[in-house]
């Protein structure tokens, strides 16, 4: 993948995070009832709409964080080889943590 595509995805994921986290905050804080009550947590966890929103937040959040981290680390004059190692560490590490993170919404659903 070219660097420009990674950058485009970085911006897309930023907009995605803003949009989906925005929905999450707006709905949970301005809808009637307490967002942290047992009933509302269970109803969100079993709704397919909320399930999709949580997955999107996770996907965008993971991509945005890991690619941001990569950009910071790249500034340490890394060699081509070191960049390859960094890329694979972030991809594999990211996938592993993502798999663990997705477990909770999947379980609830």
């Amino acid at each position: 993948m070219r660097e420009v595509h990674l950058k485009i995805l970085q911006y897309v994921s930023a907009v995605g995070i803003f949009f989906f986290v925005g929905i999450h905050l707006l709905v949970s804080h301005f809808s009637s009832g307490s967002p942290t009550s047992w009933a509302s947590v269970v109803s969100r966890a079993t709704s397919s709409g909320w399930f999709a929103i949580y997955i999107f937040i996770l996907v965008f959040g993971f991509y945005h964080t890991l690619n941001g981290l990569r950009t910071i680390i790249l500034e340490f004059s890394l060699s081509q080889r070191a960049i390859k190692v960094l890329d694979w560490t972030l991809v594999l590490g990211g996938l592993a943590v993502f798999g663990y993170a997705i477990y909770i919404p999947v379980q609830g659903f």
């Binding site: 070219r2 660097e3 420009v4 595509h5 990674l6 950058k7 485009i8 950009t71 790249l74 500034e75 340490f76 004059s77 890394l78 960049i83």
Partner: protein, 274 residues
């Protein structure tokens, strides 16, 4: 102010482990530039002082130095403008020092060369054996002309905080020149240049600190040039950029202007025969 104190970086690779500072107190005169002071020191106090300069008028870009903690052209910096009677002069940061105030600009020129800073044509015959001039409208020239004022002094590279941490980063000067040539309507080589700038140490490491534009003595505004390059590369990758069309060539006029007659000598040549 009658005297001015110069604190000058000295470094002799054969003797010194690291650069040191030497002080010189020299007479001040109105309108004097930092370079004038250095020339005074070299001519009257210590002729072993090394620095680079040539045109003394902000054109050649060879007198870039770190003056009172900012990269500046020594010939373009009047002492009065610094508003201090002590001037600290060092070699440019982000470049290895060769001797005293002379730094090694090899990396700047190598990076500059890597972005192909010249007009690229699908058919290079017209470039190699020109039959006329490429046509270019005034408005087309204005799209990039400010970036063509670059004198390759390296001040922007010395000011760049990203280059300070990542020596592989292409840097503001080469990236701005990559944009300058890609924006030129006579050029068809943007794709080749984008390949060079779309690397892990390429354009995307520019965080728009803006330090390059602050110090540029020619008003090039490299930070802006880099933003425009990012936009051009975005549109190119999303296939929104127009395909470049090879420029047309203005054929030379069929009728040549008559040559202006050379005036006669006003002084008679001495008769060499006798």
């Amino acid at each position: 102010m009658e005297k001015v104190t110069y604190r000058v970086q000295r470094y002799d690779p054969d003797k010194d482990k690291k650069p040191r500072i030497q002080e010189f107190v020299i007479p001040f005169r109105h309108g004097m530039t930092v370079l004038d002071g250095l020339i005074y020191i070299k001519e009257n106090v210590d002729n072993t002082l090394c620095f680079r300069s040539s045109c003394r008028m902000g054109i050649c870009g060879s007198c870039g130095m770190f003056i009172n903690n900012l990269p500046r052209l020594a010939c373009h910096t009047p002492i009065e403008e610094l508003k201090k009677d002590t001037i600290t002069v060092k070699s440019l940061p982000n470049f290895p020092v060769v001797r005293d105030l002379v730094c090694d600009l090899t990396s700047l020129f190598a990076k500059h060369k890597s972005v192909k800073p010249y007009i690229i044509e699908p058919d290079m015959t017209e470039i190699e054996k020109p039959t006329g001039e490429f046509l270019q409208a005034q408005a087309q020239l204005e799209e990039f002309v400010q970036f063509a004022y670059c004198i390759k002094c390296g001040l922007c590279m010395a000011a760049c905080p990203t280059l300070a941490t990542d020596r592989h980063f292409l840097g503001p000067q080469p990236l701005t020149q990559a944009y300058r040539y890609s924006a030129d309507r006579r050029d068809c080589g943007a794709k080749e240049r984008f390949k060079m700038t779309d690397t892990p140490h390429g354009i995307w490491l520019c965080h728009l600190a803006g330090a390059c534009s602050e110090v540029c003595p020619k008003g090039v505004d490299p930070a802006f040039g880099q933003q425009l390059l990012k936009r051009a590369m975005f549109s190119d990758s999303l296939r929104l950029r127009k395909k470049p069309v090879p420029p047309s060539v203005a054929k030379p006029p069929a009728e040549k202007k008559p040559r202006v007659a050379v005036p006669e000598f006003t002084i008679k040549k001495p008769n060499t025969k006798s």
